[in-house]
């Protein structure tokens, strides 16, 4: 029997696909599927499922408030503007944290080579965000009309 040629995988060139490697996975999948099907069958098939409704059980939220009005109401666009501006700063912080943690941690060794470059890039990033903030401010995004 000839071995099939190797194929490219995330881990480099590896032997070609062999189904036998995956038997444990298939057993696992079969167990999961039978459990899921069993639960669905036990709760939904008329003669298997238990049925004794009470008034409390019939409520939309069994242990919460009854909903008031329709759920399909429109929100004011102002909320979205505020949310987007919040996201801007959220993402800024998200970018600054990894940089701040690793920039002055001397174990990596990259700081001596790229430290200044990365610092300038962070500065440029913050300046751009400030410009966007000024733009939003002057356009009146913060006025709650």
């Amino acid at each position: 029997m000839t071995t099939p040629p190797p194929v490219l995988t995330p881990a480099g060139l590896e032997p070609a696909f062999d189904l036998a490697t995956y038997y444990p996975m298939l057993i696992f999948a079969a167990v999961i599927l039978s459990m899921a099907c069993g639960i669905v069958a036990a709760t939904h098939i008329p003669f298997l499922k238990p049925r004794n409704p009470t008034k409390t059980k019939q409520m939309p939220y069994e242990s919460g408030m009854d909903p008031i009005g329709s759920a399909r109401m429109q929100f004011d666009v102002k909320f979205y503007l505020i949310a987007i501006l919040f996201l801007v700063f959220d993402v800024e912080l998200l970018f600054l944290y990894p940089w701040a943690v690793s920039a002055y941690n001397t174990t990596g060794g990259w700081q001596s080579r790229y430290g200044d470059l990365v610092f300038l890039e962070i500065l440029a990033f913050m300046v751009t965000l400030t410009l966007a903030y000024l733009y939003a401010w002057r356009k009146g995004v913060f006025q709650w009309r």
Binding site: P4, V7, L8, L13, A16, R113, L117, L131, A132, Y135
Partner: protein, 536 residues
């Protein structure tokens, strides 16, 4: 000898010098946004945008071919290939793409004039400059992450631009349709990129393609095929190839004309450039193309796409009465023609030396297509007025008498779109058909290239019908409405004149641009001097 880390450091530190004009453009865009809230005036914004563009042109001109020399100097005396290490690669297509992007930037600023008012001038031109910077970057980014960023630098401003100038139902529909489908295509693209990265372990485009082609010497990876199909689908949206073209007619019809002119050119332009780069057609990996015709069916997929796209576009354009809708279908058809070059390039073996590599024909046709289509939109913008809006073809009646100059310019563009000799459209079609006929007749593609050329020729004949119909209406029909005497903005007419000069010049003497497109896409690259074309 320099170590690998030294070379990497030098390439990283030097990268910023290869994108200075783009930095200037984005910086100017930031200033324009600030100007928009501090001093909202149309003239000031247009002036600032032109200064930014001129500065970028000056920087590009002063750099010249020094970029390539500097780029190869980083690896001098080492065995490393810079294409596999650098994030920014200024060789090959890069310089030509940057010139094209900057030139289109000037034309689009001229077209913007009638559509912008004081209150939205800064935002409009700022978005436009970011788009120009993004499309200029597409030619030189050499990393999946920066490639995606450059693509988004074009897409995201487009959403804003579509909605900015006018706010009617049509504009809303156009903006929402374009937005939803565009982010969907970006998502599909990222999905494909993630597979490519997972397979090869690198985001560097050159290294990624080298790994893929080396691996495909042994066996084809199904995951790589799925990934590249997703990437083709995402770029298919940008070049509006069938079956990803559904947005085009509605967006063209509803959107503001100046912005539609941009959408008709810039996304197609970047889509094709990104496609040839991701397929490895410009700087070919050493072991041959990652997706060759003999082992994968990717060229066949593109072949089918080309035929369906050009036929679909041309046949549906026959049925259109709305002028911009007609140009949308015409744009779809021309995408089909341009795909010919890519199909041919995918099928060329690495050691062949044909007169046309396919990619250069596509690039030439892209330039020709940009000139004629943007010129046609410029004239629609010029003729359009409140009293006499230009919506349908019938609105053009009698323009041959009332506006002889602009009608003549429109005739030039339409003749070029048909592919009449002495126009750029003819030269482009000629190069595409010749490249398809010259391609080697080998299994598995056999005669398919020639069939492609024949189908394209039949399609060009179908296309003549609807273009000539416009010419007929302009010269033979009486006007539906009395000609308005309102003062018109001259800048779109000026832009149309520039486009017409280009159309005729490149048609009469194609070498003007064909030399640059050939040099930009060498089949075999000579290290250290990429401008020299090794063609024997």
């Amino acid at each position: 000898m320099k170590s690998l880390a030294d070379v990497q450091n030098a390439l990283l530190a030097g990268a910023v010098h290869f994108v200075l004009p783009e930095v200037v453009l984005v910086g100017t865009a930031c200033l324009l946004f600030v100007l928009a809230v501090v001093y909202p005036r149309r003239t000031a914004a247009v002036g600032l945008a032109l200064i930014g563009l001129t500065w970028a042109v000056a920087l590009t001109y002063s750099v010249g071919s020094g970029e390539t020399t500097a780029f190869w100097a980083f690896v001098e005396g080492t065995p490393y290939s810079p294409h596999l290490l650098a994030a920014i690669d200024p060789t090959g297509l890069a310089a030509l793409i940057r010139w094209l992007a900057l030139a289109s930037g000037f034309i689009f600023v001229l077209l913007a004039w009638p559509e912008i008012q004081d209150h939205n001038a800064g935002e409009y031109l700022g978005c436009l400059l970011v788009m120009i910077a993004g499309s200029s970057l597409i030619g030189r980014v050499n990393d999946l992450v920066s490639l995606f960023l450059a693509l988004e630098m074009v897409s995201i401003p487009t959403y804003v631009l579509l909605y900015l100038p006018l706010r009617g139902r049509g504009e809303q529909e156009a903006a929402v349709k374009y937005f939803l489908l565009s982010i969907l295509s970006s998502g599909v693209l990222l999905f494909g990129f993630s597979y490519l990265y997972g397979l090869t372990g690198t985001t560097n485009l050159g290294a990624l393609l080298a790994v893929l082609s080396a691996a495909h010497q042994h066996a084809i990876t199904p995951m790589a095929l799925i990934a590249i199909l997703m990437v083709i689908a995402a770029f298919g949206f940008r070049i509006s190839a069938v079956p990803f073209q559904f947005y085009a007619p509605d967006v063209y019809q509803g959107g503001p004309t100046g912005v539609v002119a941009q959408i008709a050119f810039i996304p197609k332009f970047i889509g094709f450039v990104a496609l040839v780069r991701v397929l490895g057609l410009v700087i070919r990996p050493q072991d041959g193309l990652p997706f060759e015709a003999s082992t994968t069916l990717i060229p066949l997929v593109l072949w089918v796409m080309a035929i369906v796209t050009m036929t679909f576009g041309n046949v549906l354009a026959l049925l259109q009465d709305d002028l911009k809708r007609l140009l949308a279908y015409s744009g779809i058809a021309h995408s089909g023609y341009m795909l010919i070059g890519i199909v041919v390039a995918c099928g060329l073996p690495g050691n062949s030396t044909p007169a046309l590599s396919g990619v250069d024909a596509t690039l030439f046709y892209l330039i020709a297509y940009g000139l004629m289509t943007v010129g046609a939109f410029a004239l629609i913008l010029y003729w359009n007025s409140q009293e006499r809006p230009i919506r349908t073809i019938d609105n053009l009646g009698g323009l041959g008498e009332s506006h002889p100059l602009s009608a003549a310019l429109m005739t030039v563009f339409l003749f070029s779109l048909i592919g009449m000799p002495m126009t750029a459209g003819f030269a482009g079609k000629f190069m595409l058909f010749v490249s398809a006929f010259e391609a080697p007749v080998e299994p598995p593609m056999q005669n398919l290239y020639r069939i492609l050329a024949v189908v394209a020729a039949v399609n060009a004949a179908i296309g003549a019908v609807y273009y000539l119909r416009i010419v007929g209406v302009m010269y033979l029909r009486d006007p539906l409405h009395p000609v308005s005497s309102a003062r018109r903005a001259v800048l779109p007419l000026f832009a149309a004149c520039l486009c017409a000069i280009g159309t005729v010049a490149f048609g009469v003497y194609p070498r003007l641009i064909a030399d640059s497109t050939q040099q930009a896409t060498p089949l075999v690259e000579v290290p250290g001097n990429a401008a020299v074309v090794a063609r024997m």
